[in-house]
Symmetry: C2
Subunit: 461 residues, 2 copies
């Protein structure tokens, strides 16, 4: 029995089991559902035991529990791989917009509609079928690499206790690669793998002028206005080419390779359609010399997220306001150190604050970008597995935002490989989240091939 | 009996009467006190009748009443002068900071403490003593010019119905000059006259980008951010010399004369002290080539009064916000047309809005500056009267803000002359408002001389 045959033979059981798991409303962001998150962990642990995982444990955190399971390879010298996903889900409001109860999964043609079908229970679940299919095809009692599943319960509420969990269990999570199954492909017709996610750091700037709001009749035009200073400061954060002006900002940026740009350019990108998804934005904008995809995936940014000061209520109030505030965040790419960007921003703000204005800067949040070079052994191995499952070339993408992936790479000190089969059209985090059932099965197939590819590639790497 | 003798002989009666008027809490901004504003008008009208004004009327408006009184000159060819002031007062909160009940005036040395003592009942009241002193000194039964008092009841709440009142009674208010007694002098030791007030116009700008806030991970760096556009727009509103960049903004500005700059420069100005009064501002700032006093008195400005958009609450929120807003006001000087500035600003905003952003501009408020050249006959006549009262040279100032004065000049088509004897230290609009009693008597003396000076100057002018 080969992998596709095994999957075909077990598809009904697979979806029946998945639906049981999906029925547990494991909303980590809602304290009323924390008991359900725990039930979800226990259900999944029981299921992993049922299908034969020799080691299955529910790992407690200071918050909600994760599930750990390990199926060791027969050969003690075989590589180890951690598979990361999460079993908690997003809230479901507004309920009225759902076609079905979010926790009563509904099959509609090829689609399975319900909270968690794509993000992320469906994607985690295809690994259970994948590892079984691998062994069914090889006839061996164990996979050719040691497979360690780590499925957390707090991803949708910020993975607050995840780094601590990784540090606590660092030894047991030792591995040669980390497979992330919580991302999406370009489209159903264009299978692809993500190779990186941007990092993030944030800052809040406050500029102070007079001790109280001043009457602009008496003082306007003769004392510094903190709102003018803020406008000038933030306007100076980009040059005319849309480049960030912080000294040294681009020094450590790992440039895009010609190969990656070429592969990005082969993605069938419809800019007008993309602008529609971008809240009906009327025009693209950004750093000169880069395409829209390169800008969101592989270039760092400085973005003003909020700005306020002075009179913001109805009507006029002719004041020179006492203060101005802004929240700024920086998306970072491979090579950049969040702490260095924070420091550079602090210095830059102080240097660009005009006489008579005092600046306060509070920085926070420091997530490094994560990145897996296309040419690396683990990415190439996963690409072969994906191509075997899809029967066509697999392209590459990146993602603009970041989750707990950087922590995994940093703490476990292993390369990340993104094998995610969600779609942008899956409406994750929104009403009527769905997964394409054929894609979940493709995921199982790719996962089955992955262990053979890794067994070869990582051993010789 | 000369003017000083008459004033000395009547000072006790003068302050006793003034205190009666001050005891009426004529707070126009507080509907609970609107009955008191009416009582204040009636009290003052009765007083004017008592001291012999042949015509005294309470003029109704759609809001609160004004008092009109006329004492015609004996000679029908004599000039007419309107004296403007107001009998309504500011609110008195916080009450706990007053040394006395705000409406139970307290004498403390030379000071009279109470709401309205300086702004503006005290200043209006010195004209009653002034006109009596004039006639006592001349022995004539009428002043040498026709004196028309116009004392409104809504100045502290925006003079909403004042233009309408002026238009309704335009014929009866016909005059050759308008004396404004609602301003202040440089200081007790440096008597001065105001020669102009800046005008004002306002605008609110809204910039719109995507239809909803976007996740900056997915879209940041590739779509226009309205907050960036707002910062760039407002930063571009001034050049490096602090000049407003709107095309044509300075074209119509009446330049300061060398004489006026010289006279301003003779005022004993302590910049460090001024910065302290400017809310502890840490440094002066403004248009290059002008002193602080010139900047606040005689140069136009563009001031950001408020700015907001995106996430302004606690914590971070990594969004590209859908919109940004700002409130801007322009202080205008003699020569500038508020409507022209509004139009120029609209055009400029639209031209400087980047692709992908839509701008909405709402303009409002259009108060022209008012200005009386130092060399004009009426200003010189008032200067002579002031110098006779003070026995020393009178210098010139201007004021940065504006009240209903421009409407008076526009609708009555007569020049303004500012004979105001308040002091910056009078704490008008604040707890413990006070007037220096010797200054109120000097005001009466100057007012007494004024009618003789005007009789000569305006007849021959
Ligand atoms: Zn997810
Ligand atoms: Zn006043």
């Amino acid at each position: 029995m080969d992998v596709p045959q095994y999957i075909e033979a077990n598809r009904e059981r697979f979806f029946a089991d998945l639906k049981e798991w999906l029925a547990i409303p494991s909303i980590s962001g809602d304290p009323a559902h924390h008991g359900d998150v725990r039930r979800s962990a226990e259900w999944f642990a029981a299921h992993l035991r049922d299908i034969g995982f020799p080691t299955v444990e529910v790992w407690e955190t200071a918050g909600l529990p994760a599930v750990f399971a390990e199926w060791p390879a027969a050969d003690p010298a075989a590589p180890s791989v951690v598979v990361y996903g999460h079993h908690d889900v997003q809230p479901v409001e507004p309920l009225g917009e759902w076609e079905t109860d979010p926790f009563t999964p509904l099959e509609k043609g090829d689609r399975l509609i319900g909270r968690g079908t794509s993000d992320d229970k469906g994607q985690v679940f295809f690994h259970t079928l994948g590892v079984q299919a691998n062994m069914a095809a090889s006839g061996a009692p164990a996979p050719p690499v040691t497979v360690k599943l780590l499925v957390e319960g707090e991803e949708e509420s910020g993975s607050l206790h995840f780094p601590e969990l990784l540090r606590t269990h660092r030894d047991r999570l030792a591995c040669d690669a980390i497979v992330i199954s919580d991302t999406s492909m370009w489209s159903e017709d264009v299978p692809s793998m993500c190779t990186g996610m941007r990092g993030l750091t944030e800052a809040e700037v406050s500029l102070y002028g007079p001790e109280s709001d001043l009457h602009s009749g008496s003082f306007g035009g003769a004392v510094p206005n903190p709102l003018h200073a803020m406008a000038a400061l933030l306007a100076a954060l980009h040059d005319a080419d849309g480049r960030v002006t912080l000294p040294g900002f681009y020094d450590d940026v790992l440039p895009l390779t010609g190969e990656e740009r070429e592969l990005f350019a082969r993605l069938p990108f419809d800019e007008a359609e993309w602008l529609r998804t971008a809240g009906g934005s009327r025009a693209p904008y950004g750093e000169k010399g880069f395409t829209t995809l390169e800008r969101v995936w592989a270039r760092p940014t400085a973005e003003i997220n909020g700005m306020w000061g002075g009179h913001t209520g109805p009507g006029g109030k002719t004041i020179v306001p006492r203060e101005a505030h802004a929240k700024i965040s920086f998306r970072l790419v491979a090579g950049q150190d969040p702490a260095k960007v924070q420091e550079s921003f602090r210095t830059w703000v102080q240097r660009n604050t005009p006489p008579g204005i005092r600046a306060d800067i509070v920085t926070g949040g420091a997530v490094r970008a994560c990145f897996s070079p296309i040419g690396s052994a683990s990415v190439q191995a996963a690409k072969r597995a994906m191509e075997k499952a899809f029967g066509q070339e697999v392209l590459f993408t990146r993602e603009g935002g970041s989750g707990p992936e950087a922590d995994l790479a940093d703490i476990l000190e292993a390369p990340l490989v993104f094998v995610g089969l969600g779609l942008d059209s899956d409406r994750i985090h929104a009403p009527n989240e769905k997964a394409e059932m054929p894609l979940l099965l493709k995921g199982a197939e790719a996962a089955a091939y992955l262990w053979d590819e890794f067994a070869t590639a990582l051993r010789t790497a």
